[in-house]
Amino acid sequence: MTEHYLDNSATTRVFPEVAELMNRIYLEEYGNPSSMHHKGVEAENEIRKAKDTLSGILKCQPKNLVFTSCGSESDNFALIGCARANARSGRHLITTRIEHPAVLETMKYLESEGFEVTYLPVDEMGLVSAEEVADAVRDDTIIVSIMHTNNEIGAVEPIAEIGKAIKEKNPHTLFHVDAVQAFGKAEIIPKKMHIDLLAASGHKIHSPKGVGLLYIADGVKIHNIIFGGGQQGGLRSGTENVAGIAGMAMAAGMLYGNLQSDTDKLYAMKEHLVDRVTKLRDVHVNGPQGRDGAPNIISISIKGVRAEVLLHALEEKKVYVSSGSACASNRPHLSETLQAIGTGRDYMDSTIRVSTSVMNTMEDIDACADALREAVPMLRKYSRT
């Protein structure tokens, strides 16, 4: 039975080209980029090349980029680092209720450190309005943190509009964007969108786990949160994950090279799946529909079926999806995002997320739809009484 991996928002399969490149670095260019000798220079060059690729994509300078160990670290670094560095200008932060725990939990930590945080609500599509953000910005607001694409329902926030509105209200307020789900799938130009900080992750874009990226705009005051040998201009100590960094840059380059046609392909797959699943009764697709939502995330609520059981039933057909948000699904609790968009209780526990990538084909989508068509009536028949 062929595998149909449709959980790409949890993590992705590494592109074979990326694995090859990394393998070469592990075996040949294994030097420490801080070493003075040739092996060090070789490794440093890989990082330089990676920065060139990535800064080309984000239309920024290489010096604006810092590599971290993951998306969560990038979010932590941006929020904690900037809150500490700017505490004298104010102690107020703004975010939304549907952020990833990497942001929400960091906000909670900052609250315990004496910062004040405003959590903005979203509408039933999971969207926050630029107007509401601007209304919440005060003289003492130091950071606004809003995700680009929601990981559970694929809502795409109006980032450029929000950025503009924030800066009009308070030009000193920093705008942080968690773009972990968007990087590699959407064009993001921080400068044009008034973004000061942007977090991305390697393993969501067909490069390895263990590498993340933080874009820091010129002039942003930030304290480092990891101390040590002073690598990366003293901003983030620790020997660089050379292979991971090179892999991430290569994968990003491949994705952004085909962005338009890939996006069309992903939307076609999404449309096809939505078409097929909505033929089943009592099925609801969450979040913005069609091209208003992310191309790669489809959140489906199926009444009368427990998502976890459905997930395992699909698994028997080698179709892999997730229930709720995969990052949080080992702690079964009601999803913040689904609550925030007003999902009814009988749908809350019944929501699966299908997330595609450029490595998927229509066959995967059909396999998923077939498996759902088979499993759903069966699971509805045997339910708790």
Partner: protein, 411 residues
């Protein structure tokens, strides 16, 4: 190396009459297995109703004690100083030093207790007790003698060497694993069943276990959780053969054919039936469950009557009279609690009715079970055929028999 040896105290097996040597051999054997996991070399021996664990090279004291505390049958572990036979004056000097090291705070009461097995030693036990008590009092004036209820007993044993100890570290008690035979534990992944397995192992049983999984209602992680629990219990019992039975078909069939409020009872009857069939095939003499009277609907007296009826083997329910709190306390002690509370669903709860029967009538249950007559025998047979056997010990698990492999006669 302050302590060169451990004296192992065991209570119950000392009074088992003619069978005593069987228990002692089993205990020595279990201690040998336990000490193999520790750094350093140990020699385990038995003489005059005592078991000695002698360290033959450097070892990690905490690790060794911890290993011994996992051996059922041990009541006390006494770390001992061992010296060659020397004249009394020298013995007294050593005892004073040893006592000083063991008890920096000497504002306490004590007595000296000597056992002289080497009758050639010039002083007898009573003389040594008296003399040495005096010497210790002289050396540590804040000490007081209390021969009836001393806080500290300074034990001296004179054999081929002189052994000295003052501390007794409690062991787990019970009887050596395997000395009472082997039984089949119904392991669910909850808090109770690992505790009940541990308790019966403490009474000398070797454990096999059976787990019912019901994909897609239960996940691979639920199985992993059960493997982890078996691994934790195996630190006391040695390797456990875990039988992983696919129960989905039977469960759905019962759901289709029987009243929903009786689902759990009927399902449990089939779990017991299958467990017994495997138990008999694998030479287990009893079943063990984690049931506790009245804890849930399927554990009322009437429900237990219904589930009990399907098997011939004795069913041990060591937790029957325990409160949940008491069970939780033991599960924390044996370290299974944190694993047990991981939130993966087991197959007992997936179809549980809102209001299951609490006073099922056996005759009614049996009548409703006739609805299953058409297919259940074959399904039970199929379930047993799919038995996947895993050998689980503290280091993880390995597959002993794949689901697809044919069943072999057990030896």
């Amino acid at each position: 190396m302050v302590y060169q040896s451990f004296l192992i105290k065991y209570a119950e097996i000392g009074i088992k009459g003619k069978n005593r040597y069987i228990f002692e051999d089993a205990l020595v054997n279990q201690i040998k297995i336990a000490m193999k996991k520790c750094e350093g070399k140990f020699h385990v021996s038995r003489s005059y109703g005592r078991i000695f664990v002698d360290a033959e090279e450097d070892y990690d004291f905490d690790e060794a004690v911890n290993a011994l505390q996992h051996v059922f049958g041990i009541v006390g572990i006494c770390p001992m100083k061992v010296d060659p036979i020397v004249p009394y004056e020298e013995l007294a000097k050593t005892a004073v030093e040893f006592f000083g090291e063991e008890y920096p705070d000497r504002n306490t009461t004590f007595k000296v207790h000597t056992r002289r097995l080497d009758k050639s030693y010039p002083m007898n036990s009573q003389e040594i007790n008296n003399e040495l008590g005096g010497v210790l009092l002289d050396a540590y004036p804040e000490l007081k003698v209390d021969v009836h209820d001393p806080k500290i007993t300074v034990n001296i044993e004179i054999r081929e060497q002189i052994y000295m100890y003052t501390h007794v570290i409690p062991g787990p008690g019970g009887l050596p694993v395997g000395s009472a035979g082997k039984a089949m534990l119904l392991l669910s992944g909850g808090i109770d069943s690992p505790v009940s397995g541990w308790m019966m192992a403490k009474r000398g049983l070797k454990l096999d276990a059976v787990y019912y999984n019901a994909p897609p209602y239960t996940s691979e992680r639920a199985l992993q959780k059960v493997i982890d629990l078996a691994g934790l219990v195996s630190e006391y019992t040695g390797p456990i053969y875990l039988h992983n039975i696919n129960f989905t078909e039977i469960q759905l069939y019962i759901y289709d054919k029987c009243p929903h409020d009786e689902l759990t009872i009927i399902m449990r009857r089939y779990m017991m039936k299958i467990a017994e069939m495997i138990a008999k095939r694998t030479a287990c003499g009893a079943l063990i469950t984690g049931e506790s009277l009245g804890q849930v609907a399927s554990q009322t007296m009437r429900s237990l009557e219904c589930t009990n009826r399907v098997c011939e083997l004795p069913v041990f329910r060591p937790l029957i009279g325990f409160d949940k709190e008491e069970i939780v306390t033991i599960s924390k002690k044996i370290d299974t609690y944190d694993t047990s509370i991981q939130p993966y669903e087991d197959c007992c709860t997936i179809f549980v009715a809102k209001h299951p029967v609490t006073k099922p009538v056996l005759k009614v249950i049996e009548r409703h079970e006739h609805n299953l007559d058409a297919g259940i025998e074959e399904m039970v047979q199929r379930a047993i055929e799919t038995d996947e056997i895993l050998v689980v010990d503290a280091n993880g698990s390995r597959v002993f028999k794949n689901r697809e492999d044919p069943l072999q006669p057990w030896d």
